[in-house]
């Protein structure tokens, strides 16, 4: 666990996370009857189910991708057994306007809770505010919104990338050339991870030079091509940072082809199952892993609490941060990740 590296306030956040998270979990795990007392005027889910009232919850993802898919699975795990809840996954098509429109639709449908993976922190803020006015709590995933809302469940990108930089530098012996396989601008994750990585290098390994920062469109194939080219110019490349695992795995493909496995340090981001396997196989050096299922479960648990009306959405002036513990997974510690935690 690299949480200790985070500034103090983050540690506090983290503790808070664990508490609220587990509380929610116990709540979710059938202990719903307590929430009835809290419920005040509103219905508890169990009672609602008895009366045949149904709660609607939906998750607006960024675009079809492994991470949101895993979240959705985690969310469903918690929501499905509570038979009074209808849950659906909606696709933001990587377009802000689509996400906003979906938000409004959900509010209009009187959803009890909206899970949201915002493409941009600011762009979605107005519609989150709208939702709040309509009394619909919003739980954001991974990307926070500038408008305070019910809860934010995140695997921090900025500090994660910093830690990756630190680990990568260590693996490279503090010096050498690094290439970044980047995503095209336009989504905030990209900026957070890039900046985190660069700041991390500055802070921990000032001697390491970034010789190439090229766009590979989140895409494994593009990553292969781009890295091929970069290697032609920098045959002595020491490390590669793929802003997501797909691109990192693309780098791995190239390294295997050119027999550079072990010679080049390759880090990814996200920690999807393919990446973990690659790490175990000793190809990918490491990635920022978090249990995305768990992240989904946490969000869902919090959601169920909110849905029962224990806390009115409008009351969330001071929003809660559920900070996911993350792990810079490398060959050493990757074994500690249970199969059930792999997504």
């Amino acid at each position: 666990m690299t949480v200790d590296d985070n500034p103090a306030n983050d540690r506090r956040k983290f503790l808070k996370t664990v508490m609220l998270g587990s509380a929610a979990l116990t709540g979710a795990a059938g202990g719903m009857f307590q929430s009835l007392e809290l419920a005040g005027g509103k219905l508890g889910i169990a009672e609602a189910w008895a009366e045949g009232t149904r709660f609607k919850m939906a998750f607006i993802q960024w675009q079809p991708h492994t991470v949101p898919a895993a979240w959705s699975k985690g969310i469903e795990e918690v929501l499905k057994p509570q038979q009074a809840i209808d849950y659906e996954l909606l696709d933001g098509q990587n377009k802000v306007e689509v996400q906003v429109s979906l938000m409004e639709t959900l509010v209009n449908q009187g959803a009890s809770v909206i899970f949201l993976q915002p493409i941009d922190s600011v762009a979605l803020a107005p519609s989150i505010a709208k939702a709040k006015r309509a009394g619909v709590p919003v739980i954001t995933l991974n990307i926070d919104a500038t408008e305070p809302h019910a809860a934010h469940v995140e695997m921090n990108h900025y500090y994660g990338a910093m830690d990756i930089a630190k680990a990568m530098g260590a693996a490279m012996g503090g010096k050498g050339k690094v290439a970044i396989l980047n995503a095209p601008p336009g989504i905030i994750i990209r900026d957070q991870r890039t900046n985190g990585f660069l700041d991390g290098l500055k802070q921990h390994h000032p001697d390491i030079r970034v010789v190439a920062d090229q766009v590979a469109d989140w895409d494994r194939k593009k990553a292969q091509d781009v890295l091929n080219t970069i290697l032609a110019a920098n045959p002595d490349l020491g490390g590669v940072y793929g802003v997501n695992d797909s691109m990192a795995l693309g780098a791995v493909d190239v390294a295997k082809e050119k027999g550079l496995v072990g010679k080049v340090t390759i880090f990814g981001n996200d920690g999807e199952v393919a990446a973990l396997e690659s790490i175990e196989a000793g190809e990918l050096t490491g990635t920022q892993y978090t249990d995305v299922y768990q992240q989904g479960r946490l969000a869902a648990a919090a959601a169920t609490v909110l849905a029962t009306g224990g806390v009115p959405a409008t009351a969330f002036a001071q929003q809660s941060h559920l900070l996911m513990p993350y792990l810079i997974a490398t060959k050493e510690n990757v074994g500690s990740i249970q199969p059930s935690q792999r997504w």
Binding site: Q93, E97, V100, N108, S121, V122, T146, P185
Partner: protein, 345 residues
């Protein structure tokens, strides 16, 4: 009047009927479709699409196409972003500037097509890349990461995203809840009025149809076809700029990816609205309706709980139906025509 010849073509009437039918269908079948909130959602969520589509109508009218308008939206959006957050330029100055930038982008497209004799498809395909690149290069988000979490607050910009409670003004809302009218919709209506007038009742409008319908005739009638074409693309650019402003106001920020892929939506709306890619047929009216039709369908299907992947399939089907119907009308007319194929239209 003469414009009837153009605006009330059977295709247009069919479009209106189809639109009404669709809305009616969802009002009945889709829960919460016929609510004030949903209508508000439709109006505010698709007015800017409609504006973009109306702009696209002009290049199509002169037998062209503009693939770059999505990128123009992104570029203008980023210009606004920089001017407000970095240079703190007052909004009342930004608005005209933004419109100017968009229009110029359009002019460049037109110039490439007219003077370098490039196919519109390719010319705008190239500028699509170039404008997106420009957007990246001027992106304040890359220069000043802190700004990515700073909302635009300039009243002149954000003010575009306001709503009018028409209902209570008219006192109707006591009887039934009325949707609040988004300013963007009002802008759309105003722009529609202007463009439709331009097309129907000005010399320039007539010239558009002449150039699109019979380029040689236009030339021989002494029409400056080059200027007409450039103007057409300029209008497309202008509309893209308006779209950008509305979106920025709606999101209180802009991203480098703003407007990506919207050109295809606009083209789809235009074609559904009865614009013929052969040029010289249709008017801004069609694309506007087409846009809201698309919007109504998407919202309706979402409310029906139809998966979004299925929605993509349905959208495609509607597109096919639209062109198919237009084709049918053409054939029918050709059969009616007693002229020889040489000048059948």
């Amino acid at each position: 009047m003469a414009q009837n010849a153009v605006i009330f073509r059977p295709a247009t009437i069919a479009l209106i009927l189809f639109f009404v039918a669709t809305v009616a269908f969802f009002c009945v079948s889709a829960p919460r479709f016929a609510t004030a909130a949903n209508m508000e959602n439709l109006l505010s969520g698709y007015s800017f699409v409609a504006i973009l589509a109306m702009g696209q109508a002009f290049p199509i009218l002169v037998r062209g196409i503009d693939l770059s308008i999505g990128a123009v939206v992104g570029f203008v959006g980023m210009v606004v972003f920089d001017l407000t957050l970095i240079f703190h330029v007052p909004g009342y100055m930004i608005l005209p500037l933004a419109l100017l930038v968009g229009t110029l982008a359009g002019v460049v497209n037109g110039a490439l097509i007219v003077f370098l004799k490039l196919q519109p498809f390719i010319a705008t395909l190239a500028t699509l890349a170039a404008y997106r690149g420009l957007t990246y290069s001027i992106s304040g988000r890359q220069l000043r990461p802190d700004l990515t979490t700073t909302a635009i607050t300039d009243p002149w910009i954000v003010g575009i995203e306001t709503y009018f409670d028409i209902g209570s003004w008219l006192g109707i809302s006591k009887l039934l809840p009325m949707p609040w009218l988004p300013l963007s919709f009002v802008i759309m209506l105003a722009l529609f009025a202007v463009l439709q007038t331009l097309v129907m009742t000005t010399r320039f409008g007539r010239d558009l149809y002449t150039v699109g319908g019979n380029y040689e005739a236009a030339r021989l009638a002494g029409i400056n076809a080059a200027r007409v074409i450039i103007c057409a693309y300029a209008i497309a650019g202008f509309c893209a700029a308006v779209t950008a402003l509305i979106m920025v106001a709606r999101f209180t920020t802009s991203t480098e990816a703003l407007g990506t892929g919207m050109e295809l939506t606009a083209i789809a709306a235009a074609v559904i609205g009865g614009m013929s890619l052969a040029g010289g047929i249709g008017s801004p009216f069609g694309p506007a309706v087409g846009a809201f039709l698309l919007g109504a369908v998407l919202l309706g299907l979402t409310l029906l709980g139809v998966g979004q992947f299925v929605q993509q399939i349905i959208t495609g089907a509607i597109l096919l139906a639209a062109v198919g119907y237009d084709r049918m009308l053409v054939l029918r007319r050709q059969r009616r025509l007693t002229a020889n194929p040489a000048d059948a239209v």
